[in-house]
Symmetry: C2
Subunit: 447 residues, 2 copies
């Protein structure tokens, strides 16, 4: 099937995307007789499951990022290229970057998804989502700026709007953000202001379905909701957001329509495939699902293009359960390893069985001492679940120094309730420069 | 002199600026019978002496920043306000913020300095300086992007320009940046690229005077230069930069004029006072020096305005040695404490002696195992100086969690030569958003 194995030029595997799928595929090829090129727009791997901690000031961006070059530094068959893929040609077997064209023998596409506003892209500016480091820093700036503005605001109604935080979407990201924000408002910041009482902050978590964490077993959804309510979060299920404009969130629950005045709205609902999905469809004729994800074969390849694989969140793999596998890190990691095995077997002219996802369970953290864990054979919640959650998340951080720093910061937060990384940076009005160094500096009034 | 002490309203001390001067003044007033308002444009105190570590990827912004509210959380007589002062009226004794006016009884101005291009402000875009967190992240982006661009560049001359780094100014910041960049290029990154050899990078440190670290004793300047050269830095003294344009740095050494092609130029020369200096001059008639710093009285107050004090880098205090005290953290900290003592004494109608700076010495780090320390009675360099430098810098970090994290990261870098915080964020072309999620996505070529 693949002939390059017999020539002197090694088989060239090109991987697009350095997330869980792409990085694990690259690492699994470290001893294979192939040449690997990993292309990513960014120069780092991001540990997305902890991004909500950056957004709420618990961790620094650097704590959950690892330089791709450092991870793969000693993997001599692998080159990292920072760049964006702007085209591909499945017949010539090439991908195009702005300044060069790269030939591949096998192509692995793992470019993931971004948020989706269900046709309401104008909501993006008022209700940012959480996918990138820049998103997290933007959300951190919004959250902490809202408390600062409330402290200065004298009009009670406006102050209330500054202290109202709406989270749209009750999946793991929404739940984790809500829990972290409740801790922030009701514990961390409680002594830090003089003119406002941060315990008056309202944190609303809105979910369209009849329960939060819909992919989890119902009893865990109930436990999660109870835990959030104990922390002070208002959970509203069966609630659809119908508009977000000018700090007003309009929502509908059955027949009831309500408007709420909130200066901070965060989006944790809906996602759509990255543009690479559409490009693949145009180039290969492969079918996309409604979210733009690529419908893959049982071996993660594309129909009619056995040398192109799509893995991770961008892939719609429905062969196992009849519905797409969830967009979570373990799926992407297993698919990355699977495809790298498949490529190596092919080079030896061996075959492999179809991809099979080994589901070790779901987990979501709710706040201090509270999480929910579903391992299939056992479900548990509360403090043991929280410890399990922390252990697993630290374990899967790529580099040892990240593990160490995150562990210490967690222990420190646990003991002190502090969140140290509360920097408001990149202010929109004044992106950089020194204090007061402004052109509009008003000449002092002289009598 | 001050009558408020006898009334029921407490004496109100307004401090502008939460750097070393302002923060230490506020903290020294914690038990005083006064009300304190600390105003800063930012919500955090920045430990500027370690900013070069953020700029070179050794530390995260959060590691060297402490939220002002958290530091002063339990200091009940003190309120923190995030905002910019846009005017002041010394007769009415008020300062203006965009949304409110604040009356003071005593005013402490500690707004520091920013960089200065000696009338060549157009150089700023090509040669950024290092004063703020945003500056540091911008410089980090430039440094790591240069190596990425070099890896992709095939033209040898352009590649050489990407691998040429010019640092203008041989003071402590320039020296510390040069040392860190040499470690980066010649150790940290040496296995990370495939098409370039990072040991070919050139790091040039340019200084106009006849030696680097001009305020230090000459023998330490020599040691510092030797250490830098051992690390691979090219040090050029008596060299003036006459132009920076389009990646070309023009410099003059005596009669000799040279041009060098460098994609990364960093500015560590010259500084000027923040705009607050000029505003004070207009409002009070106080004299400024050539750099815009405020010439203060022997008690740090302004001539004719005993209730207004200027401290830290913004102050020109020449009463002790005949020339201005250097713009370093210890001066600002001692001045902050001095003014807070003076205000408290005044309230008791006592007097205090003039300000006197207790100089404990100078120190600058050059790189791994190398620093120079001048304690007046003893000068030393090399590994003991490096340990002293690290110890002192960690000791003066405000919060315990910063101390702990910085210590661990330093130990980790020392053992592994790693720099973990190498994120290239806020790319100019594409500030946020997902990989490949671009409008100019080229439709694949179909045959």
């Amino acid at each position: 099937m693949v002939s390059e194995a017999k020539t002197t030029t090694p088989h060239h595997v090109v991987i697009i995307g350095g997330g869980f799928g792409g990085l694990y595929a690259a690492q699994a090829l470290r001893k294979a007789p192939v040449k690997v090129t990993l292309i990513d727009k960014r120069n780092f791997h991001l540990f997305q499951p902890l991004l909500y901690q950056v957004a709420t000031g618990g961790l620094s961006a650097g704590d959950i990022s690892s330089p791709l070059r450092a991870i793969l530094s000693h993997q001599k068959n692998t080159q990292v290229l920072m760049g964006k893929v702007i085209g591909l040609d499945p017949n010539q077997k090439t991908v195009q970057l702005p300044d060069k064209e790269i030939s591949y023998d096998s192509l692995i596409v793992a470019t993931g998804v971004s948020h989706h506003y269900f046709g309401n892209d104008q909501w993006a500016k008022d209700a940012p989502g959480l996918k990138t480091i820049e998103d997290a820093l933007d959300i951190r700036r919004r959250i902490y700026s809202a408390f600062e503005a409330a402290e200065k605001e004298t009009d009670p109604e406006k102050r209330r709007a500054w202290l109202t935080f709406v989270l749209v979407g009750g999946g793991p990201t929404g739940v984790e953000l809500a829990g972290a924000m409740a801790e922030l408002a009701y514990d961390t910041l409680k002594n830090d202001f003089r003119d406002i009482d941060t315990s008056e902050a309202r944190i609303l978590l809105l979910e369209g379905m009849d329960r939060i964490l819909p992919p989890y077993p119902p009893e865990l959804s109930v436990k999660a909701q109870n835990s959030l309510e104990r922390l002070g979060v208002t959970v509203q299920t069966k609630t659809l957001v119908t508009n977000i404009d000018n700090d007003i969130v309009t929502m509908r629950r059955g027949e009831q329509v309500e408007e709420i005045n909130a200066k901070t709205v965060l989006w944790a609902a809906g996602m759509k495939a990255s543009a690479m999905g559409k490009a693949l469809a145009q180039a290969t004729g492969v079918e996309l699902d409604r979210a733009g994800r690529v419908i893959v074969q049982p071996d993660m390849s594309l129909a009619g293009h056995p040398d192109i694989f799509v893995i991770g969140d961008l892939a719609n793999f429905s062969h196992q359960t009849g519905k797409p596998l969830p967009g979570v890190a373990p799926v992407a990691m297993q698919q990355g390893k699977y495809v790298s095995t498949l490529i190596q077997k092919r080079l030896k002219e061996e075959t492999v069985a179809d991809f099979h996802y080994q589901d070790y369970g779901n987990l979501a953290v709710i706040g201090r001492n509270a999480a929910v864990v579903d391992l299939g054979f056992v479900k548990f919640s509360g403090f043991p679940a929280w410890l399990a959650w922390i252990f697993i998340h630290i374990f899967f951080l790529i580099e040892f120094d990240n593990k160490l720093l995150v562990m210490i910061q967690w222990a420190w937060h646990y003991l002190t309730f502090k969140r140290g990384v509360r920097l408001i940076t990149n202010l929109e009005e004044e992106p950089a420069g020194n204090f007061e160094e402004r052109r509009d500096y008003r000449t002092p009034v002289q009598v």
